[in-house]
């Protein structure tokens, strides 16, 4: 081992369970990534949808207009179905922590676990009150019913905060010491409130509103183009679009904050975003192209001088750390990270513009845009925001590699020694395909019921 700064401590962490490293951690990573990719979009609905239907119910309470009630009730029913799917996909994640990463859990469970304790409580609260809310329509007094929705919104926030706190900690581990290869002196609250959590929570929280808002708006934009332009559909479209359009321009600013934080604590990840090989000042930002390992640079990209230095440190003369500051085995896979990063940026910019367009029209002309193209764009924005979301997660999580706990434990040290991962992997893929088919079928079924039925009592 070379004398090589902070990373030295890393190699010293002995696996608590004494398993030895497992070179084919790739399957475990892919299973985990697949499960997260299934669960994270559902989380977006958990974050944003309750606030949306509660907002609409608030309109109903103020105006007494049954259209609002029908919409809030319909949305809450959809939210319950999505929540149920989130319950099972989230459960899979907690199984996978143990099934795939027993060394990680055994070594660090006592450091980050308390955050999950809070998550468990949030999840519990959410499960209790979403059931009361959805099954309580018409059964509880109007005011009590509205109030039972509030814990759902709060728990959606605290639940995602605590899970993100653990993810942020994996990227910026603190709150423990390593002594002779053993993790000691855990300080759970230092771990929870690490430097990465703040931008991660805001970034993800806004992403929740963007994804949920645009996906829901996309459904009604399609209805709009098909000529269903009654009050019900119009309200649904405007509310969903408003949430998404408020969040998407702000996300640009938060993204800038996130990038600067990464530049500070994970310079290598930033270098991977950009395929920057050599440490330098006035670092350029390269649009498109791909990174050639052999030549150590991005080919066929459009280079914008100084921009990376400006973005990362708001200073064209700032020095950006390059990939060659560490040996090749300590670098993340450049192309995956870079392409994911650029995809997120591109889509995010598009969504921000679409949101701004909606707002300008709405505020200045007090109506929805008339162009057919706008509605097609909104329909596209749903799936696009989904792609941006997953790209963002690939950026940060693949960008963290080869570490599971940044510069402390390698991913291949964390993985299970149990055989048969590939069988489990195949099984899991089939199950998720079936689940996706089921959800699609169910949401179409729900959408085909006329909204009038929601208030027919």
């Amino acid at each position: 081992m070379s004398g090589w700064g902070a990373v030295l401590a890393a190699q010293d962490v002995v696996q608590t369970l004494g398993g030895g490293s497992q070179p084919d951690a790739v399957e475990a990573r892919q299973m985990q990534a697949l499960s997260l990719a299934v669960h994270i979009p559902i989380v977006c609905f958990g974050i944003a949808f309750p606030a949306m239907f509660l907002f609409v119910e608030g309109l109903y309470l103020r105006t007494g207009d049954e259209t609002y009630k029908a919409l809030a009730k319909r949305w809450s029913k959809v939210a319950l179905v999505i929540f149920a799917v989130g319950v099972v996909t989230g459960t899979i994640l907690s199984f996978e922590f143990g099934l795939l990463w027993p060394e990680f859990m055994a070594s660090f469970g006592e450091v980050f676990g308390v955050a999950f304790g809070l998550e468990g409580i949030s999840f519990f609260t959410e499960a209790i009150f979403i059931a009361i809310y959805v099954y309580g329509w018409g059964r509880l007094s109007k005011k009590v019913h509205f109030l039972t929705g509030i814990p759902v919104v709060i728990a959606g926030f605290t639940g995602s905060f605590t899970v993100l706190a653990v993810n942020a900690w994996m990227n910026d581990p603190e709150g423990f010491d390593v002594v002779a290869g053993k993790v000691t002196n855990p300080r759970p609250f230092d771990a929870m409130f690490n430097d990465h959590i703040w931008h991660e929570i805001v970034h993800m929280y806004l992403a929740g509103y963007i994804v949920c808002g645009f996906v829901v708006a996309g459904v009604y934009a399609r209805a709009w183009l098909k000529g269903r332009r009654d009050r019900y559909h119009r309200t649904a479209l405007v509310v969903a679009l408003s949430f998404a359009a408020l969040a998407s321009p702000v996300q640009v600013i938060v993204g800038d904050w996130a990038a600067r934080q990464v530049a500070e604590t994970q310079p290598l990840k930033l270098a991977a975003f950009e395929g920057l090989t050599e440490t330098r000042k006035k670092a350029p930002f390269t649009l498109g192209g791909y990174y050639s390992e052999k030549e150590g640079k991005v080919k066929y990209g459009i280079e914008i001088p100084w921009l990376l230095s400006v973005l990362a440190h708001h200073d064209p003369n700032a020095t950006i750390t390059g990939l060659d500051s560490v040996k090749a085995s300590d670098r993340p896979p450049i192309n995956i990270v870079r392409i994911a990063f650029q995809t997120m940026i591109a889509i995010g910019t598009g969504l921000a513009l679409l949101g701004a367009l909606f707002f300008v029209t709405w505020l200045r002309k007090k109506r929805l845009p008339k162009s057919r193209l706008f509605y097609l764009a909104v329909m596209l924005a749903g799936p696009a925001s989904f792609v941006a979301l997953i790209s963002g997660w690939i950026t940060t999580e693949v960008g963290r590699q080869p570490w599971i706990v940044y510069k402390v434990m390698r991913t291949e040290q964390a993985v299970t020694q149990a055989d048969g991962l590939e069988i489990g992997y195949i099984f899991l893929v089939l199950v998720y395909v079936a689940l996706a088919g089921g959800v699609w079928w169910l949401l179409r079924r729900l959408a085909s019921t006329p909204p009038q039925k929601e208030v027919a009592h």
């Binding site: 004494g18 149920a84 409580i121 059931a131 299970t416």
Partner: protein, 356 residues
């Protein structure tokens, strides 16, 4: 501190065994309800009873996981790597159970409801079996400390695992039948009250027989566990469980379902608590004592405080949910599951018909 966190573990195991177990038990009765038409009423009642509560009941499992991986991380890693097969199968079962149950609620044709119902019901039987088998592997000392250090197969394919797996299925079915009999009474469906009462009596007797026979299995397969269950606090808990089971039978026989809800829960809780006392001082029998398994004090303290504060929110919330449920305020209209898919018979509602 380790003791308090162990108490949280017991709470998680017990609550999941009772409430989660009852939901799985409902799935068992769904599976065995017979033809679409004959079992339609039983299935309708199950759908109606489970819908508002199964998600909250399920969260006890997550609660349990979180406590174990935070307070007893080495044990968590060892258990999940050695018992990865039954736990993976249980996890897959959980996807099918939850999703199929929710999807069935929206089914539009009998065919759809049948396929989804079969998926829901079958996984409801398999999940408690695999969890029980995993628990049997732990209790009989087959989980070794290390990354997949125990035998991948023998750790869950063994007499104790088979016993606890079967016991988990049967006791869940029993608790479910008691609850459903009570729910049917509230829904004023006398034929269903009878149907579930018979099921409660049958499954209660069976659970008792399996438990008694099981003592012999444990005696030959896991002697330490047997000794723990037949002495000291372990023995007291076994007796409490037996009394709870007997009382449940008597109460169901005399149609006092609301009290029977409590005693059937006590019977399950006592056996969970008894298990923990039986393997004292071990967390992983023969391998890791509670003291060795416990995380650092700072973590245990933080977890204790966080969960205690959480309980201040959770207990009133759960109380509110169950009170609304038991007062019938979240009840949906009762509807036999098969009836949704056919026009009502002439003359309005169909004649009441027993489940078989």
């Amino acid at each position: 501190m380790a003791e308090i966190c162990l108490a949280y573990v017991i709470l998680g195991v017990t609550a999941y065994a009772i409430f989660g177990g009852a939901d799985f038990g409902a799935g068992f009765w769904d599976l065995t309800a017979g033809t679409a038409r004959g079992g339609g009423r039983v299935r309708g009642m199950i759908q109606r009873s489970m819908a508002p509560v199964w998600e909250a009941n399920h969260v006890w499992l997550i609660f349990l996981f979180v406590i174990v991986w935070t307070a007893f991380p080495v044990a968590f890693g060892s258990i999940f790597s050695t018992l990865s097969i039954p736990l993976f199968l249980a996890a897959i079962g959980i996807i099918f159970r939850g999703a199929a149950f929710v999807f069935r609620g929206q089914a539009a044709t009998m065919r759809e409801a049948k396929v989804l119902g079969a998926m829901f019901a079958l996984s409801s039987v398999l999940i408690p079996y695999f969890f029980g088998a995993a628990a049997g592997g732990i209790a009989s000392g087959r989980v070794k400390v290390g990354n997949a250090a125990g035998d991948m197969i023998d750790s869950w394919v063994n007499p104790t695992s088979a016993l606890i797996g079967v016991l988990a299925v049967v006791t869940g079915a029993n608790v479910a039948a008691v609850y459903l009999a009570g729910d049917s009474e509230r829904a004023e469906q006398p034929d269903l009250v009878e149907a579930f009462r018979r099921r409660a009596l049958g499954s209660g007797l069976l659970a008792g027989l399996v438990a008694i026979g099981g003592l012999f299995v444990v005696r030959s397969d896991a002697r330490d566990l047997f000794d723990g269950l037949t002495s000291g606090t372990g023995l007291i808990m076994v007796i409490v469980s037996a009394v709870g089971g007997a009382a449940t039978l008597a109460l169901v026989l005399t149609r006092r379902f609301n009290l029977a809800r409590v005693t059937s829960g006590v019977a399950v809780a006592a056996i969970c608590v008894g298990w923990v006392f039986a393997q004292d001082p071990y967390f992983l029998p023969g391998e890791l004592t509670l003291e060795q398994a416990a995380a650092s004090d700072a973590t245990l303290t933080a977890l204790t405080v966080v969960v205690a504060l959480g309980m201040i929110i959770l207990i009133p919330s759960l109380y509110y949910l169950y009170r609304l449920v038991l007062k019938g305020q979240l009840d949906q209209e009762f509807e036999p599951l098969d009836q949704r898919f056919r026009p009502l018979e002439a003359g309005g509602s169909p004649p009441p018909k027993a489940g078989h």
